[in-house]
């Protein structure tokens, strides 16, 4: 089934991010505020989901924005999208933090038991918040690269070419990562039924 995620695209008539960044470099504080309003919610959404901690997500996003302000005077329009650059920095910072933690359980997905009950009927009876929390818990056991690709594709709404640019890999590699990530998610969801508090309807 194809997801219905919508790609991130600038609104018509909106000043491009790169133009705002150049304006900021020339002393336009309003342009800087506009960039904060545009980028921070997206970056924070990703970082909070990747790290599972809002405080750490704030640190990562703040560092990303500081780096953006720092390179603003040297930004060359047309070479890269500001949002792509910012996502790349945020993702790398998240990856660094996850590596430092080394506490995230990397479950061997293949060892998880095959489904014994209908997941769809379980999910159907959940509230929206329960579904979101369930998803976050399942995402947390994916390998880093798979989680990054799945979150960007199915939750952040990026297209595969955009993800390829952010992750600095080919489009086919992105497709492979998201496909394997989704398979692993399904297995993880079945394997974590009891841990996640699902009622067993077998």
């Amino acid at each position: 089934m194809e997801d219905n995620a919508t790609p991130v695209a600038p609104h018509a008539g909106e000043v491009p991010d790169a133009a705002l960044l150049v304006g900021y470099a020339n002393g336009d504080a309003k342009a800087g505020r506009q960039l904060v309003a545009r980028l921070v919610p997206k970056l924070f959404g990703y970082a909070a989901r990747a790290l599972g901690d809002h405080g750490e997500a704030e640190d990562v996003v703040q560092e990303t924005m500081l780096r953006l302000w720092k390179i603003a005077p040297d930004w060359r329009q047309g070479e890269a999208k500001v949002s792509t650059w910012a996502y790349r920095v945020t993702i790398n910072l998240c990856t660094d933090r996850l590596r430092q933690r080394r506490t995230r359980p990397q479950v061997a997905i293949d060892s998880v038991a095959e489904p014994a009950a209908d997941l769809a009927s379980v999910v159907e009876h959940m509230t929206a918040r329960q579904r979101s929390e369930t998803l976050d818990a399942a995402l947390s056991v994916l390998p880093d690269r798979q989680r990054q690709a799945v979150v960007m594709r199915h939750l952040e709404g990026f297209s595969n070419p955009e993800i390829a640019e952010i992750m600095d890999i080919g489009v086919e590699a992105v497709e492979s990562l998201t496909a394997r990530g989704k398979r692993a998610l399904k297995k993880a969801l079945h394997g974590k039924r009891e841990e996640l508090g699902f009622e067993d309807d077998r």
Binding site: M1, D3, N4, A5, Y24, A25, N26, G27, D28, A29, A31, G32, R33, L35, V36, A37, V40, P41, F44, G45, A48, R49, H54, A57, E58, V61, Q62, M65, L66, W69, P73, P115, D118, L119, A120, V122, V123, E124, M126, A128, R129, R131, S132, T134, L135, D136, A138, H154, L155, G157, K182, L185, K186, L189
Partner: protein, 114 residues
């Protein structure tokens, strides 16, 4: 319907919930970053770095100036502490002074006798 497609439906339902329940930054955090942007924009841009050639030219001038003044200072110091050495170097032997000019039509002797 196969189990796999039922799983896909379940997963898509979770993704939809994830998109609608997206983590949002606090207003305080957004304002802090906006204030940081204000502060950065208010700071004057750093002056462009001097070109290396110009920096070297400045260095060369500094060396030349310090060499000239150093030599002058050394001469004054030698003349002050060892005047006899200067006499020995300058006044011994033939004290004849020779002048030459290469300007056409200049009578140097007439000028000196004036």
């Amino acid at each position: 319907m196969t189990g796999n497609s039922r799983d896909d439906i379940a997963l898509e339902t979770l993704f939809a919930a994830g998109r609608s329940e997206r983590p949002v930054p606090s207003g305080e955090f957004l304002e802090r970053l906006a204030a940081s942007a204000d502060a950065g924009a208010a700071r004057p841009a750093p002056a462009p770095a001097a070109r290396p050639v110009l920096r070297l030219a400045w260095l060369g001038r500094a060396f030349a100036a310090s060499g000239l003044s150093g030599a002058a200072a050394l001469g004054v110091w030698i003349g002050f502490v060892m005047p006899e050495t200067i006499d020995a170097l300058t006044l011994e032997g033939d004290d004849t002074v020779a002048l030459a000019t290469f300007l056409p039509g200049t009578d140097l002797e007439a000028i000196l006798n004036e």
